[in-house]
Structure formats: structure tokens, C-alpha cells
Symmetry: C2
Subunit: 340 residues, 2 copies
């Protein structure tokens, strides 16, 4: 930790004046330095290589801010990187904006900042501009982070729900529900918490790799964060005006998560993920697609969970373990607030 | 107001599921619709015309959220549009991210959304992607908004503190301190509140116009928001390693603001502005520059307030009304929290 003259965040750190400058100099600029940020301007001036970009934003309000497998810092980087990846793109630039609650410990901010740095370096994306605000104690909750990103789109990417067809395969890139169950366990202080980690990680490398190999045969990709896999599948069925049929026995869930879901009365299909995608691909490439995904560590548990059907347009149905069919609706209400 | 089945924001509206979709359909997508947002994807895919862009982010946490002259909605649009303008650019695309507190009235969100629409239309910039999160009552404060923007840079813009030279003129584009005094008056319930309005407005049109006419002779522009004119001048003096000398008698302050500042013990130089810029320009164009600004309504009160000097590098001094010189430091502490 750098030499700082304060232990906690005060309202003065959001003043835009001397204290803000000190916080930025010793913290943000110091840790994240790069040629764009070093101009210390409110905005960055950036070279752009392509004539088409992906642009996406997310605010992160997760509680607790530290959890097994990560913290709000890498979650905020990976979340926006993955939203860019879901456009068929890789990240070029990120912005970073903090809303800090008065009283936040500088040690916590520092740890989050270092995690941000590590996640951004791992994703090979520079943070080029930012903002820091402070609200009074009781008017926020430690730290909220907005990240917004610009990405370059793969020349072969053509993601569009209109391209989804009967017979297309539904693939998930790994085990589902790990993130949500990790957070829930932390909040409830459950015993199994140490066995389960958030799946927060960046996936643009994996997306880029399959786009290189399979191009247009990938119809669309979505990351099933809030609302889980069930909600994403419902959005895809609605947008494509086709049915989706999945098989319960093919859903990749680790035993600890299955156990936790039973204990907590949760359905893993509705639990949030942070390092996962759902892809709809042409059936002719489905096995090769899964094989390529499985060759990479982040997606080594990829599997086909179902297919697109012309029956029951706009609906998602699941064949249960004992052979029955049930309709899977979009998440109603809020299963788990502030999961990301 | 559209037909909505709820009067207040609940945690379910942040679930990512059915209620989030309902809120977006009836609210955000309905009001802000454009071809990019209509894809209802987490990210937007955008054509980019130039090979250099401006990129800037800001989170808005102002309280109260409604104030004379505007609300947090137009503040958030104009603030990011102006940060883009301060890069010598005009806005091309904006993102919009909400952090809502459980219990926020739908009527308030609706009014803010309509104001956002109006401000974005006025600035001719589409909102192309967004995000909505909800936090529990007492963990936020009604509404926080992040806007992040991409802009096209004027071909003649070359803003850099390295280009500031001895003799350059310091220009402000209008009356100072109106925004901060408006907010302070609201909070204190002072009588003069009705006379003073926030100066929130977009300035990129004005910036574009002077860039067309004066190009490189404009050395740099900054918007004196948090920390006020004093803080921006200090940042410029520090970055350029030159001195700045201003004259108190030339500071454009409306009498109501002067009165309020006296009553509240505030120095208008440190009070926040939201629709103002400070420009450093070559002395050869200073009068023409001000004349052009004065021909446009948003900058009709533009005036020269001082000049760059080789004396006292890194410092800002002000000649007072009675002839004495005093050093103007950067804002220390926090004069007025949550002003933007």
C-alpha cells in the first residue's frame, strides 16, 4: 500500500479539489498508470482502429464486496469485458467510475484497486478514463463501480437473434450457478462456502478463439448474469420467436452447488453467473465447438444443454431427470438482490 | 406517464428478470428508443467514423435530485456531453446506467427519464446502451446515474496543457457559481433560491463553433465543475508549469450569487458550475474569441478573466478589487458534497 495520509474515505475525497487529487495521485493514477490516464484529463483521446465498435456499460453494487474467488473490482472489469465479448468483440478501452461511501477503509479501496489492475492486465485492456464520487455514510454501501467499455468486433462475428433456427444447439460454457451460490453462502454464513468460488473471469479470449474457427455458425452469445441461464434462454426464445428445449441431466452443476441449491431452495437455472456464456450454434458444428471450448481452461466444462425447436415459440421447456417436461419461465421477482 | 403496474421501485426491478424487463419496456426503451437501443442487447454495436475518439465517464450523485434549472437527468447528460466537449469533440454515443434505491417513486424516475430524453435530443446524441441496478432502502440515495460518452474530435482541436504560453488569455464562458449556489440554496431552504438557476446545459455546439473559427489558437478547455474555477486554474498552472493571474473585478458573477456567497461564507471561485468552460487562448485571438462566444446564447456572458504569466509557476494569483494580490489555492476539503 502506498503512503497515504488517510485511513478512510471522507467527503473531501469527492470534492474535486486537493483531496481528490491526492487520492487519484497516490491511488488510481499510481496503480493503473498508462499513457491515456497519465494525461489526467476528464476524458481520454483514443485511437480507434476499426469502423465498428462494441459499447457496453454496467454498474456493480454487489454485497459483500469481497467474496471467495474475487471482489467487486475484478467483477467490474470482467463483467464489462464479457459484455463486450457477447457482442463478438474484444475489449479495447475501459472507463472506471467509483461511488464511494464516506468511511470506506483505504485498505479495502486499495485491495480493490489492485484487483482491478490485475483483472485489466489479464484481459489486456487499459483503463483510460475515470471518475470518483463520495456520498455520506448511509447514502451508499462502501463502494459501487461503473465500468464502461469499447471493443473491437471480430470480422466474422454476426450475432443476431434473427439468425437462430430450428435445430441449433444450445451450449453453456461451464458450470452454472457458482457465482450466485458463493455470494448467497457468504451472506448466510453457510458452511460449504469455502468449497465454492465465484466464476468471475474474462471470456473474450475464448469467444475470439471460437469466432476465428466457427465464424457465422455461431448465431448469438449471451452471458447469464442476473436472472441466470433461465432468463437468457427466455430472452432468446422471445427474440427469435422459436422454442428452446433443454435437458436437466445435461445441466453442468457441481455437486456442492446442487447441495447448496437444495438447502437454500434455489433453482440453479435462475442463479447468477459471472464467467459463463450461453451460445446458440449451428448444429453442424456443435461438437467441434464444444471440443474447442473444452481445450481452454476458462471453458473446459462447456456442454450442450439443449436445442432450438419450432414447437412452443417464445417458450423454454426442460425435460426433467425423470422424463417430464416443464416450462421454464423468466425469473420473476428478485431471487438474490445485489449479486453483481 | 406510461401504464405501469407499480408505484415504486422494488428490489425485483434490479433482478435482471421479468420485472427488470417490464421496467425497461415501459420506461427506458419506451422513452429513449433508437435503432441501437432497440436491439435490447447488453451492448451496442456502433459505426465509428473517425480514427480518433474522445471517451469520458461520470457518475452523478447530486442531492436533491430535482433543483431549479434541472434535475439529475439532464445534469448527467450535459455533464458527460461537456466532458466530451472539453476534449475538443462532439458527442456521438452515450451509455446510461442507473443505481436506484428501493422505494424510489416511479413518478420521479419517469420525470428524470423524460428530462434525460430531452437533454439527449437537444445535444443530438443517442443513448445506445444502459444498465439498471437496485439497492436496498438505505444503501443508496434515490438515484445515482452514470453516463459514459464517445465523441468525435474536431480536426482542428489540439488541446494540451503543454501548449499554454506566457501571455495567453484566460476566458470563462459565462457567469460562475450558479449551479453550486442553486443546490446549496435548495438544501438550506434559503429565500433567494427562486432567483438562481443551475447552469446545466450542453456546450459542445459552442466549443465546435469556436474550434471551427480559431482552431489551434485555443490551447485547452476545461469545465470547472467540482472544485470550481479556482481548482481548474490550479490544475492548468500545475500542468503547464506557468503562473496564472486573474482579476477579481473581471469575474462574471450575478448579484444574487454574490449575495448568496456572502451570506453563506462561500467564495464563488470554488463553487461548482455545470454549464461553463474555462479556455486558455492565444492572446492574438482573445477578443474575437469572446465576441464569437457572446454571439451564442449559452456563452453570451463570456469574458476574459486573466492571463498566463511566467511569474510564480504552478500558482494562481488574483488581483483583488482594492488592488492587492492573493494566492488562489486548489479547493481543500469539501465545500459542498454531492454537487453533481
Amino acid at each position: 500500500m502506498p503512503k497515504m495520509d488517510f485511513d478512510i474515505i471522507t467527503l473531501g475525497h469527492g470534492s474535486g479539489g486537493l483531496l481528490t487529487n491526492q487520492l487519484l495521485d497516490t491511488g488510481v493514477f499510481n496503480v493503473l498508470k498508462n499513457k491515456y490516464l497519465d494525461t489526467r484529463h476528464d476524458g481520454a483521446i483514443l485511437p480507434i482502429r476499426d469502423n465498428k465498435i462494441a459499447f457496453t456499460t454496467d454498474s456493480f453494487v454487489i454485497t459483500p464486496i469481497f467474496f471467495p474467488g474475487g471482489n467487486i473490482g475484478d467483477l467490474a472489469i470482467n463483467g464489462t469485458v464479457n459484455d463486450i465479448a457477447m457482442c463478438g468483440a474484444k475489449p479495447a478501452y475501459l472507463s472506471l467510475s467509483f461511488i464511494l461511501e464516506e468511511g470506506l477503509k483505504m485498505t479495502e479501496l486499495w485491495e480493490i484497486l489492485l484487483t482491478i489492475k490485475k483483472a485489466a492486465d489479464h484481459a489486456k485492456v487499459p483503463i483510460v478514463t475515470g471518475d470518483t464520487k463520495v456520498v455520506e455514510k448511509g447514502k451508499g454501501d462502501k463502494i459501487f463501480i461503473n465500468t464502461t467499455g469499447i471493443g473491437y468486433i471480430h470480422p466474422k462475428a454476426l450475432f443476431n437473434s434473427d439468425r437462430i433456427e430450428k435445430g441449433d444447439a444450445i451450449v453453456v460454457s461451464g458450470h452454472i450457478a457458482n457465482h450466485g451460490i458463493t455470494i448467497m453462502s457468504q451472506r448466510e454464513g453457510l458452511e460449504f462456502e469455502s468449497d465454492i468460488l465465484s466464476d468471475t473471469r474474462s471470456l473474450h479470449h475464448n469467444v475470439w478463439t471460437v469466432l476465428e474457427e466457427f465464424g457465422h455458425a455461431i448465431k448469438i452469445m449471451r452471458d447469464p448474469t442476473r436472472g441466470g441461464v433461465a432468463t437468457v434462454l427466455n430472452e432468446l426464445a422471445r427474440d427469435a420467436q422459436l422454442g428452446i428445449k433443454i435437458a436437466e441431466e445435461h445441466l453442468p452443476v457441481i455437486p456442492q452447488v446442487t447441495g447448496a441449491c437444495e438447502l437454500l431452495g434455489l433453482d440453479p437455472l435462475y442463479v447468477a453467473n459471472e464467467g459463463l456464456f450461453v451460445a446458440v450454434v449451428d448444429s453442424s458444428i456443435k461438437d467441434a465447438f464444444v471440443k474447442t471450448l473444452r481445450s481452454m481452461p476458462e471453458t473446459r466444462d462447456a456442454t450442450i444443454i439443449g436445442e432450438v425447436s419450432s414447437k412452443h415459440p417464445g417458450k423454454v421447456v426442460m425435460k426433467s431427470g425423470i422424463g417430464g417436461l416443464r416450462v421454464i419461465n423468466m425469473l420473476a421477482g428478485d431471487q438474490l438482490p445485489r449479486i453483481c
